[in-house]
């Protein structure tokens, strides 16, 4: 459903600060896959998600969604296939708009915007229903500005918004990282529930190894712009957090040795 071939992204190309964020990435994601992505800071995880959703265009390579080449489609035209939740709770919602207005925008995703009221009585009922399912009491606060919500509440709302129009692909970028442990737990369970319910194809970046193995059906590890590990099925079942950490430092060391060899 998602096919990435030879994807390369270089920041500040041709300057002394040139930085290869992604190096010839190849990745094929099947429909219904729930992939967790791990990797050290600066490995290129966020850049990968940004390229898939069209925030930047690649320097090389191709991105296909459902067989359609979207490599050169601007972000707002890809949005109808893609739902996103970011690390920063402020990023996924408009704080000066009310809860129902934010949801209305999400419900219109990929549709032509018209000159008619955005929040109708029918929609309001539908939003109430969906918010009630979150169990956060937000269904009684439809007309409050989102800026008044807590980080966890905003993130829950963002997940709801991202999945409201049943995207083909859900991209989650450390979306629980800025929350307190209890809220983070709640949000991750909510995520799993929604993903399972709609059978969404999902890529989830996380720094939590336990989470990476516990959720989803496949795990990839990135390092310095490359995919260095891709496990699923039985191999993944057998893997413990310790194994994964070992693999992690192994990869790092290997790279270090390679780099040294290049130097001599």
């Amino acid at each position: 459903m998602l096919k990435i071939s030879h994807l390369t992204k270089i920041f500040f190309k041709g300057t002394p600060n040139e930085n290869v964020a992604l190096r010839d990435i190849n990745l094929e994601v099947a429909s219904g896959d729930f992939i967790t992505i791990i990797g050290s800071n600066g490995a290129g995880k966020t850049t990968l998600l940004n390229l898939i959703s069209g925030v930047y265009l690649p320097d090389k390579g191709k991105i296909e969604i459902n067989g359609k080449n979207v490599s050169n489609l601007p972000e707002h035209k890809r949005a109808k296939f893609i739902g996103r939740v970011f690390q920063d709770p402020l990023q996924g919602t408009a704080s000066s708009l009310t809860i129902e207005e934010n949801l209305a925008i999400a419900s219109l995703k990929g549709q032509k915007k018209r000159l008619r009221f955005a929040v109708t009585r029918k929609k309001r009922e539908e939003f109430k229903e969906k918010l009630r399912a979150l169990g956060l009491g937000l269904e009684n606060r439809l007309q409050e500005r989102v800026g008044l919500l807590s980080g966890g509440q905003r993130q829950a709302l963002t997940i709801l918004m991202a999945t409201l129009s049943k995207p083909d692909l859900l991209l989650l970028d450390e979306h629980t990282a800025s929350l307190d442990p209890k809220t983070a737990q709640k949000i991750i369970l909510l995520t799993e529930e929604i993903v399972a319910h709609h059978k969404l194809t999902t890529l989830m970046v996380t720094h939590n190894m336990e989470e990476a193995l516990k959720f989803g059906n496949r795990t990839i590890m990135m390092h310095e712009g490359e995919i260095v590990l891709d496990i699923k099925g039985e191999e993944r079942e057998r893997m413990s957090v310790k194994d994964l950490l070992d693999k992690f430092s192994e990869v790092r060391k290997e790279r270090l040795v390679e780099d040294k060899m290049l130097l001599v």
Binding site: H76, A79, Q91, A94, S96, I105, K113, A118, R145
Partner: protein, 302 residues
């Protein structure tokens, strides 16, 4: 005497309020500091004046004023979204271009609209209406109704699907793009609507004062901004309805303050030509007030 002073200030305040509504849309809703205003306000005046002199119905002339203002806003938006020029610069460029364009439209720096020359303005028509109340009261009343109708339309618009995307664009561009909205389009619509209102205000003001002048736009953006900021401190609340109301109240208060300064200011040595200086001082005071107040508080505590 005092009554007529108040009525006149109110009339000017209402006309100003239309401009303030436009400024509210760019500065507060789109978060786009749009300086086109100084050009689109006299543009509206120029278009209305020329069309009226040529014999057009003054109400239809206003439609063309608004249309011209909308085009000016489109130009600024185009410079910003397609040519990637910063908002401030894009606005200034349109403003400066409009100075020449306004002169071309008028053919000279100043056009007089006068009953003696046979020109019919909105004011002449309103005076002719046969009503039990006197035109001194009737005209401000009509202006008030016009402002409230425009406010209502802006409120309604900002709650439509298109309006919502414009508000979200000003709030969180990244989010709204991820929601599949072309933020360029949102800015084009917002800026043209704003400048249409500004030009409408200019067109009405030219008819009200009986002339259009190529220099009448100087400092209008600051005046509009002052209105919006004053209004925000008088009408608290963050809903669209309260914020547009704030812009209107702010415009009226601002206009009253200016009129009072002009009327009684000479006691302290003010001249009418000091008006822009006064406006600048007023805005500086308002903008720095929260900072200075916090500073004074800190000093008091220590």
């Amino acid at each position: 005497m005092l009554l007529s002073f108040v009525l006149h200030s109110l009339e000017e305040g209402f006309l100003f309020a239309i401009l303030a509504l436009g400024v509210y849309i760019t500065f507060r809703v789109l978060n786009f500091p749009d300086l086109t205003v100084d050009g689109s306000y006299p543009l509206g005046a120029a278009v209305a004046a020329v069309l009226i002199v040529r014999g057009m119905n003054p109400f239809s002339a206003l439609l063309f004023s608004a249309l011209a203002g909308g085009l000016a806003g489109l130009l600024t938006a185009f410079l910003h979204t397609k040519l990637k020029i910063t908002p401030l610069l894009a606005g200034i460029l349109t403003m400066i271009a409009l100075y020449s364009i306004n002169l071309r439209i008028m053919g000279r720096p100043n056009i007089s609209l006068s009953e003696y020359l046979g020109h019919r303005t909105v004011i002449t028509i309103l005076r002719e209406v046969n009503l039990p109340i006197r035109s001194e009261y009737f005209i401000p009343l009509i202006f008030f109704v016009i402002v409230m109708v425009l406010k209502e339309l802006v409120d309604l618009f900002l709650h439509t699907e298109i309006g919502l995307t414009i508000r979200a664009t000003g709030d969180n561009e990244q989010m709204i793009r991820a929601e599949g909205v072309n933020t360029d389009t949102a800015k084009l619509i917002g800026l043209s609507l704003s400048n249409a209102l500004v030009a409408l205000s200019g067109g009405l003001f030219a008819q009200y004062q009986g002339f259009a002048d190529v220099g009448m736009g100087i400092g209008m953006i600051i005046a509009g901004l002052a209105s919006v900021i004053v209004g925000q401190s008088l009408v608290r609340g963050r809903t669209v309805e309260l914020m547009t109301l704030g812009a209107i109240v702010g415009a009226i208060v601002y206009r009253l303050a200016i009129a009072m300064a002009l009327k009684w200011g000479y006691n302290f040595g003010f001249r009418p030509t000091d008006l822009k200086l006064l406006t600048a001082l007023l805005v500086i005071t308002i903008l720095s007030f929260p900072y200075l107040r916090a500073k004074v508080k800190r000093l008091e505590e220590s």
